[in-house]
């Protein structure tokens, strides 16, 4: 007990030990470019609508989904681990970080990011010469 306390003291405060880090899983993602922007779809089974966090910090889009706790009992057969999801994307300057909409449907999160005004195709009118 005393030895543990001594170790805790000598360690710098900003060191994050690996086992203390939160464990995240990457959701499987589809990315589609549309005429209006980019649509991202995430498979996040077990995540309710209220437990999704979408943040944009400068050009970094972060998606976090908190999953419901795992079933009680002993896992006798296991193909997947239950845990929270996280995935990050860098938005290019052509995307508009203020124009993001998201919907959640049966464990699939759809995030639509609009194109920035300057990246949209424009039609140039030809002035008539008389």
């Amino acid at each position: 007990m005393a030895a543990e306390q001594r170790i805790a003291k000598t360690e710098p405060a900003d060191v994050v030990r690996r086992e203390e880090q939160e464990r995240y899983f990457q959701p499987a993602t589809d990315i589609v470019e549309t005429a209006e922007g980019v649509t991202l779809k995430f498979d996040m089974p077990g995540v309710a609508k209220e437990n999704v966090d979408i943040t944009v910090d400068k050009d970094m889009l972060t998606i976090i989904g908190r999953a419901e706790p795992e079933e009680a009992g002993m896992a006798v057969y296991r193909e997947t681990h239950v845990g929270d999801y996280r995935r990050q994307f860098t938005l290019s300057a052509d995307m508009d970080p203020n124009n993001i909409t998201a919907t959640m449907d049966n464990g699939v999160l759809t995030v639509a990011v609009g194109k920035a005004e300057q990246a949209k195709p424009r039609k140039v009118k030809i002035a008539a010469t008389t």
Binding site: P27, D30, V32, E79, N106
Partner: protein, 145 residues
């Protein structure tokens, strides 16, 4: 020198998938939660005192598109995840989510009572509660003094 020896890794793809599964369980901080390709949906089976719970991750599949068949000690889950048609001009940059029809059969550790099966779908997760068959339940015997 004898070259003609049995080489255990004849099916490299299967071996890699097996390794994916092994190392996935060691749990790196960032790993794709969906498991090796070909195993969709991912299924976990939990054993409790009197019951067995099967959990399948089927995001984006409506409950009406799922078929659950219980026979003896095996459970079969059939369904389809619709491939979406992209409008003209739209294109995929990245495609990781599996689509198409799937059939998965899982053998349960104990026989179950087919009348006790209850299935519940929420947020893309299908949970099937089953009670163990009477002969498979653990019995507590009181000892008379």
């Amino acid at each position: 020198m004898v070259v003609d020896r049995w080489f255990p890794f004849f099916d490299v793809g299967k071996t890699l998938e097996e390794m994916d599964r092994m190392f996935g369980q060691m749990g790196q901080p960032l790993s794709v939660r969906s498991v090796p390709r070909g195993t969709f949906p991912a299924v976990n089976v939990y054993e409790q005192d009197d019951g067995i719970i099967l959990m399948a991750e089927v995001p984006g599949v409506k409950p009406g598109q799922l078929d659950l068949i219980v026979q003896g000690d095996s459970v079969t889950l059939k369904g389809q995840r619709q491939e979406e048609d992209l409008p003209n001009g739209d294109r995929f940059y990245r495609r990781e989510r599996p689509v198409g029809a799937f059939t998965r059969t899982v053998t349960l550790p104990e026989p179950i009572d087919p009348n006790s099966v209850k299935a519940e779908y929420k947020n893309g997760v299908l949970k099937v509660h089953m009670e163990k068959a009477e002969q498979a339940k653990a019995k507590k015997i009181t000892i008379k003094s």
